[in-house]
């Protein structure tokens, strides 16, 4: 540890006000933080000293308050932070606190074995920046540097009146970094973890800079402005600087735009795979638009939650929101997919498109989860339901979001799809929804992985004729949701699952597929093609799959947890629990996709609720779909039977089975090629 070097570089001797971000802050921060610890108890003092040294701080200890004060007065800038005991024989800790505040204005942390409310309140009123209860654990000490940074930041801000410039520069940079990392991690199971790591890194950098501005949140309007600007310039010619000028949003920096553009481009690329279908879908979807609208509402909540959980990068969230919100009245963010799913199953109308509606329709929360994860495939019905649900989409990071503008309809679904995957899925999901729904659980959508969309799209197209490409949500104005031209459900032969048409159906199947995929893949394999596998699995898997499905869909799990954050975890855990995924997924790559999708689902807690319903629907749908799916299976990845098996839900399974028997397998409409069932909220 280069304490000395750090110290030197810190040049703390200069006034704190001049201590600006980037100034002297070495990469080793907070190592070398100069701590003065005061405690009359020798045992505690020794232990604290050892712990602080273990945290790489530079420690000075005193057992008397007077000594501490004199030390501080001698060397005003020699310390960064003070830790003081409350009960001391020679001077009350609070008195010391006051002195330090007045004379040196250093951050002071109080400590005591006393955890009574009054005492702690006293600490607050006297200006302590924190209060630690003894016995103090080393973990608590590891974070004390935050108080130093915070104080400096505030001082700096005051000093620098406008301060916006520098802060702005710094902040976007950091947010960009974080965003970038997050986008890079999309569709990657590890992504969320990575993102966290990266965020931590950026946080550390932020600390050094002391000025940490909140990330720019790409709201729906903002994103729409962005998209409008990009379209105006032409995607090829769109450069951040020009976009920024066109947008003319105060406070927005070039860096913000640049990072957002990068993501947008990735999104577009993903969509391009299904672009062909998109056109088809778009038409379909447009018809559906109204329904999607609700979907798009992706529950800004979900999105936000997702974003909050870090799973969903702020940007994607924004996108999702934009997408979903653009249209939807934000129904409640419910895991629309979930709802849709159910709806899908329940009705065979294409509405289901996405889980969006899932929530609404899919009352089966369980199922819904599926949809969540797989925003895309289920779309048709789900979309419809999503619309209503729209809100839940929030979870889905519907990839579509940014492009949400177009797919606003789709977005809801997409958004829900899951955070990282969602992004992908959304685009896909939407597209898938449209297309898949008609045919077969196109789950492809969000199931998170871009592959899905592409894969699905392709699959879809082959099967149904419905432009599976729809999956490629996004940008192509056709709301990804469009893919689920739910309305077209009628077109789809009996698609109760209507993957393409009936959002519910497709979603269900996709769910199943996703689920399985998700479960297995949750590991982060962006396995694109999971959706297909899902279906395959569906057949095979009985009720259990649903649970797994949920993984991808994460909705299920999330349902209960209602926390987006949990979604990802949930999905993962769901996977684990379900165990289904691995087994079920016929080794399809779904898992990857699904897994990612699953993530979404978690996000949509609400959806989960509906997922349950959805699941049920799904079961029904699955039954039908599975049959269909199987036939369809175009997907390379795996048999469309994904659904049947995945739906983990027992009822779903049974329902499906029953349906299967009853349903003529003629429908090959469900092409769940690789639609990541992930999104299927189970």
């Amino acid at each position: 540890m280069n304490v000395s070097s750090v110290k030197g570089s810190m040049s703390i001797s200069s006034s704190t006000s001049t201590w600006k971000a980037g100034d002297t802050i070495s990469d080793q921060f907070p190592a070398g933080l100069r701590v003065l610890v005061v405690d009359d108890d020798p045992t505690c003092l020794m232990i604290l000293e050892k712990m602080l040294i273990a945290c790489l701080y530079k420690v000075t200890k005193c057992n008397r308050a007077e000594t501490a004060l004199s030390k501080l007065r001698e060397n005003k800038n020699g310390y960064d932070i003070v830790l003081s005991d409350v009960h001391m024989p020679d001077m009350d800790g609070f008195k010391l606190l006051e002195h330090i505040g007045l004379e040196m204005d250093l951050p002071v942390i109080m400590m005591s074995a006393d955890d009574g409310k009054q005492v702690v309140m006293k600490g607050v009123t006297h200006g302590a920046c924190d209060y630690l209860i003894k016995p103090v654990r080393i973990e608590a000490l590891k974070n004390i540097w935050q108080h130093v940074v915070r104080k400096r930041k505030n001082e700096w801000k005051e000093f620098e009146q406008s301060g916006s410039v520098e802060e702005g520069d710094r902040q976007p940079k950091q947010s960009d970094d974080a965003d970038y990392s997050s986008s890079a991690n999309e569709g990657n199971w590890k992504g969320s973890k990575k993102r966290k790591d990266e965020e931590e890194e950026t946080d550390e950098r932020d600390d050094t800079s002391t000025l940490k501005k909140p990330r720019v949140v790409w709201s729906v309007e903002l994103h729409q402005q962005f998209v409008a600007a990009v379209n105006q310039l032409g995607i090829d010619k769109a450069v951040p600087k020009k976009i920024l000028e066109l947008m003319n949003v105060p406070g927005l920096t070039r860096e913000n735009v640049a990072s957002h553009l990068q993501k947008y481009r990735l999104y577009l690329r993903r969509l391009s795979g299904v672009s062909q279908h998109q056109s088809n879908l778009s038409t379909i979807i447009s018809a559906q638009d109204p329904t999607f609208g609700s979907l798009s509402s992706l529950s800004g909540l979900d999105l936000q939650t997702l974003a909050a959980t870090g799973q969903l990068p702020a940007q994607s969230l924004a996108r999702l929101q934009a997408a979903g919100l653009g249209r939807a009245t934000a129904k409640s963010g419910i895991p629309i997919t979930l709802v849709d799913q159910r709806n899908i199953f329940s009705f065979e109308n294409p509405k289901l498109r996405f889980g969006e509606g899932q929530q609404q329709h899919m009352t089966n929360k369980q199922q819904v989860n599926l949809l969540h994860g797989i925003p895309t495939t289920m779309e048709p019905k789900q979309l419809v339901s999503l619309r209503h649900a729209a809100q839940s989409i929030g979870n889905m990071n519907m990839q579509v979001p940014p492009h949400g503008a177009q797919s606003s309809q789709n977005n809801p679904l997409l958004m829900q799809m899951g955070q990282q995957q969602q992004q992908q899925q959304q685009s896909r999901g939407q597209i898938l929804v449209d297309s898949t729904i008609n045919h077969a659980p196109r789950l492809s959508s969000s199931m998170g992985q871009p592959i899905l969309s592409n894969g699905i799209a392709t699959n879809v197209s082959s099967r149904n004729g419905i432009p599976e490409n729809i999956r490629a949500p996004g940008y192509s104005q056709t709301p990804s949701m469009l893919n689920f031209p739910m309305n077209h459900a009628s077109e789809l032969p009996g698609n109760s699952f209507a993957l393409g048409s009936t959002p519910g159906v497709s979603i269900l199947t996709s769910k199943g597929a996703f689920q399985e995929d998700v479960n297995s893949e949750i590991k982060g394999s962006g396995g694109l093609m999971p959706s297909y596998d899902v279906f395959n699995d569906l057949d095979q898997h009985k009720p259990q799959s649903w649970e797994l499905q949920n993984v991808g869909m994460a909705f299920d799990t999330s349902q209960h947890s209602n926390s987006l954050q949990g979604n990802l975890d949930l999905t993962q855990s769901a996977l684990g629990q379900q165990g289904f995924s691995s087994g079920q997924m016929n080794g399809h790559n779904r898992s990857a996709a699904v897994a990612s999708k699953a993530m979404f689902s978690t996000g949509d807690v609400k959806e989960l609720g509906s997922a349950q319903n959805v699941n049920q629907h799904l079961n029904n749908l699955l039954v039908d779909n599975t049959i269909r799916v199987k036939s369809e299976r175009v997907c390379d990845t795996s048999p469309a039977n994904i659904f049947p098996d995945h739906f983990g839900q027992d009822d779903l399974m049974s329902a499906l089975l029953k349906q299967q028997e009853s349903v003529a397998s003629s429908e090959n409409e469900f092409d769940f090629d690789g639609y990541s069932m992930n999104n299927i909220p189970v």
Partner: protein
Amino acid sequence: MEVGQMQRRLVDYTKSLFMEGFLDAQFLQLQQLQDESNPDFVVEVVSLFFDDSEKLLNDLTMALDQPNVDFKKVDAHVHQLKGSSSSIGAQRVKNACIAFRSFCEEQNIDATLRCLQQVKQEYYLVKNKLETMLRLEQQIVAAGGSIPMIELGF
């Protein structure tokens, strides 16, 4: 006794201390703080704790022996003892201190005297246990062995 056997004995003994509530997770933290740069950290801290506690107990005895007991002072001492015992991980001592403090608030002489006895008893118990444990560790080290890390599922 050969090293392996001694190590096993140490592990079992240490575990029993945790099981019986003499020590808690905080003690584990201390053990984790010990490293090559500071191989005697635990011994040092524990010794410090013993010295400090005995002084406190003496002060407490004297304070409670006064005709007019100054409960505030008593409370301050007990609070201190509570803090140090909790930092060390001497759980039972800490718990005894908590009870002690509540009686101090009530200014109940008899109860506080009883509490003092209780605290003393717990203190001597844990002192004895810790000394035994540390002695075992020393023997292992002297015999060339290393001190096994205790993994407790706290």
